[in-house]
Point group: C2
Chain length 503, copies 2
């Protein structure tokens, strides 16, 4: 869009990226803050996107043999304590239920009553409570592998929250599997990582780097944490899904044992993997522009909105009939595994068009008497702003092809952005500059993913974090072996890792 | 099944209905108790049924314009207190979050820390927290009607729990709508009641009576509560869905106001309506027999299970290939709006057949070398025990037709049972006898739905409840006007109501 054009969102991304994000969430009507500290309300437009994400991911999981189940919201305190690293990681920020009743207090208002003998934690993640079930479900090698997923809400008492990205309550899925061998568990960990990457790249149109976390960034209690990392438009990283190889740590904590075909009893090998409403935030931050959200067509709550225009002296009923006819025609088509979702907005009021731009509907079709005369509609493309008249005879074909083009364009430009802002770096001063100095002449060289060598010492990682608020996002899985010197201490390293600021 | 036949479930329904229920839940592998008091674990077979129920109901809601959203798990105590009757109804049994951290205690273990300034209630229902959002979303008559639903977990701290029927945490949907007029809100209340009745009767094959609750049985804060009531095989009633007309009570409590087209500001009229995992319990108790669950085909997690048999000297690979071929053939068919769900169980072990009987799969197809020679399979029907050979050329047709027959049979026999045990009653002694005296000669006249006159006085209702643990389940919507005398006091009444024991 032209430089002088007024944008729908104030401030723009360049002016204030964090505030732009909050304004886009608001303007697109996807979510709002709730009066409950750190908890969001997901509004219909945002929830509809999440429903679509759930449906696609759920189908992908089930194709690999995963079955859904549901486990309690509450975890007894003693369960959380079973795994030492795990409790350290999650005890800091959790909602604690201590009472099961309210009573009239001395001041007249209600006060908590009925104290529980053991406090309950609102699940921040469910390894320990699901492990308890697994310990009953698994007795023989014939019960393995056990491949379970749950869609649920979880709570982590965050101090600083941001809609979708970091909220005290969020929606997610958490998969939990148990296996007879370490190899099989590791394979499952990788299968799920690949599903996340496939989903995020091919459905959300967000390119990612697959990698493994350093020990300091691992899930508390995991042996290895795999992740996918995406670059947002402020060049910070967003972790969009994680898959953990838990070794036998949680099997030992929860007593998940099985008798092998040889009669020997062993602890199972387990995994867990999760993705959350955070992906919604990642989608907005990857594709959004200064006019609002841009929905990737394959997960868009609506693909097309029809906007009848009513000039004076025109017959509104005829225009409405034409609009409904066009909607019916489009609804016969399929896109991304479901019928085209078509909205009609016949409100004749100013700002109508902008509402849909801000919401990010991929295509808008205007139609009035002049279009009717041509048996056509006027099509506007959200991602590029292109517009053209389309004959109704060609409409279904043009719409589905253009949706494909939008899906591809969103991915391609996000990938180009990521590549532009990913640089190999071998000089410590340049590295520090990359993350600190703002160069107004060349803003594009400020920040992003620095591919740099790391010796493997947590102390170097910690020092960089302290100096720059930059962490190792991951050790990429496809990184070539390459000898080099640690960006911090110069000691020998065998490959580059991804350094970045992050959400 | 024959009288002397050993049953899969001990005890039988006649011997001990409540214990039969618990054993069926266990034997069918649908759910288990969790170590968290009153909370259940829904296992894959049970959850898969729930997923199917969610998908169908959700589609029905959306067809009437309802949109899904998501609201916070936690409700500030002050919100709950906004509606006087509402807080009285729900403050007695709720999980109270009082802290947001755990710290090492003096004894070494973790103790709650970070006390909250205002306790949070884990939602027992969301009128007040959703009302808060509605107060922001509604400003003009143009914003109405607002039709919102959420699928969520809720918590009510129950003292006596039973899997699916009454658990501290359960899954449900709660719809919340706001309207410009009382008439429109009442109409919506009825639309949703009809959807519940349609779903429960035509999908779960459970016949229901639609009615309205007496004041004492209303949802706390509602002006009118509509419900559907089903009869279980122990002749007790189960409430399977409720739809509440809330008048302006919650709009006033939450300050949901709108400006009418005439410029005048008014409070909105609201409704709420819910159905829960309780329906799963109702399904089991309606259709189950002494061999386990019987799944109504339209919601069954699997329609058909294929059971290859491997006699000695037969080629197992050929039998397996034949089985897979049969599965592929069936999976091309649709039933109840989705492809036929076909399971293959090729475990060659005793009890395999019974596992599927207990789980309630509508049809079992056995196939071995002799069936292969005839290009046929041997089909077993779960509801009637009927069995016959079916040529594979006819299989798809026979399977879908038989599934229809099963769906119909389950409904018809449940309806016949309900009708048999529903009696008009005008004599107080007979009425008391109906609910107390066990007549071994005529057990069928003991208990059930007593259709009796009631004067409308809560004191009569209360006295009957005290004497018999029998309540008025509903005032049926389709009851004919009929003058009579109250079954308790003899005062004038204009129609019969449904008295019954209940879950």
């Amino acid at each position: 869009m032209g430089q002088n054009k007024k944008t729908a969102i104030t401030p723009t991304r360049m002016e204030d990226y964090p505030e732009w994000y909050q304004q886009v969430v608001k303007a697109s009507d996807m979510a709002e803050n709730s009066p409950v500290r750190g908890c969001m309300v997901i509004k219909p437009w945002g929830y509809s996107l999440w429903e679509r994400m759930v449906a696609v991911l759920d189908g992908m999981f089930k194709k690999t043999g995963v079955k859904n189940a549901y486990f309690p919201l509450f975890i007894p305190l003693s369960f959380l304590e079973k795994e030492a690293e795990h409790v350290d990681g999650f005890a800091k920020e959790c909602a604690v239920v201590t009472h099961h009743r309210l009573e009239a207090g001395p001041g007249g208002g209600l006060v908590p009553a009925g104290p529980l003998t053991e406090p309950l934690i609102v699940r921040p993640t469910s390894e320990t409570i699901i492990g308890d079930s697994f310990s009953r479900w698994v007795t023989s090698y014939r019960d393995l592998p056990l491949l379970i997923n749950q869609w649920a809400n979880v709570v982590r008492w965050e101090m600083r929250t941001r809609t979708f990205l970091r909220t005290s309550e969020f929606l997610w899925q958490e998969g939990h599997t148990a296996h007879a061998t370490a190899e099989e568990a590791l394979e499952r960990t990788r299968i799920m990582l690949d599903i996340y990457a496939d989903f995020v790249e091919n459905w959300l149109a967000v390119p990612v780097i697959r990698g493994v976390k350093t020990p300091s960034e691992r899930f508390p209690g995991a042996v290895e944490t795999f992740c996918i990392e995406a670059m947002m438009q402020d060049r910070k990283a967003l972790q969009a899904g994680t898959s953990h190889f838990l070794g036998q740590n949680f099997a030992k904590a929860s007593d998940i044992r099985f008798q092998g075909s040889d009669g020997v009893e062993s602890f199972a090998w387990t995994t867990s993997w999760g993705a959350s409403t955070r992906m919604v935030g990642g989608l907005i931050m990857t594709h959004g522009d200064d006019d609002g959200v841009i929905m990737p067509p394959k997960v868009a709550p609506a693909h097309v909105v029809l906007l009848p225009v009513f000039p004076k002296n025109a017959d509104p009923e005829a225009i409405l009939a034409y609009t409904r006819e066009t909607a019916d025609l489009l609804r016969l088509e399929n896109y991304g595994g479901r019928p085209l979702e078509v909205e009609i907005d016949s409100r004749d009021m100013p700002g109508r068009n902008w509402d849909w731009i801000k919401k990010g509907v991929p295509l808008r079709l205007e139609m009035g008497p002049r279009d009717m005369a041509e048996d056509a509609v006027f099509m506007f493309r959200r991602d590029t702003g292109e517009r053209c008249a389309v004959k109704r005879a060609d409409l279904a074909k043009v719409v589905t092809e253009t949706l494909d083009a939008i899906q591809k364009n969103l991915y391609d430009r996000a990938l180009a952005f990521q590549k532009t802002h990913t640089c190999n770096m071998d000089d410590k001063a340049v590295f520090y500059d990359f993350f600190t100095a703002k160069n107004p002449e060349k803003p594009e060289i400020h920040g992003g993913f620095a591919m740099a060598h790391w010796c493997g010492d947590g102390a170097c990682e910690e020092a960089i974090k302290k100096d720059l608020s930059v962490t190792i996002r991951c050790i990429p899985l496809d990184a070539p072996k390459e000898e080099g010197g640690c960006i911090f201490c110069g000691e020998k390293s065998m490959g580059r890792v991804v350094f970045s600021k992050s959400y």
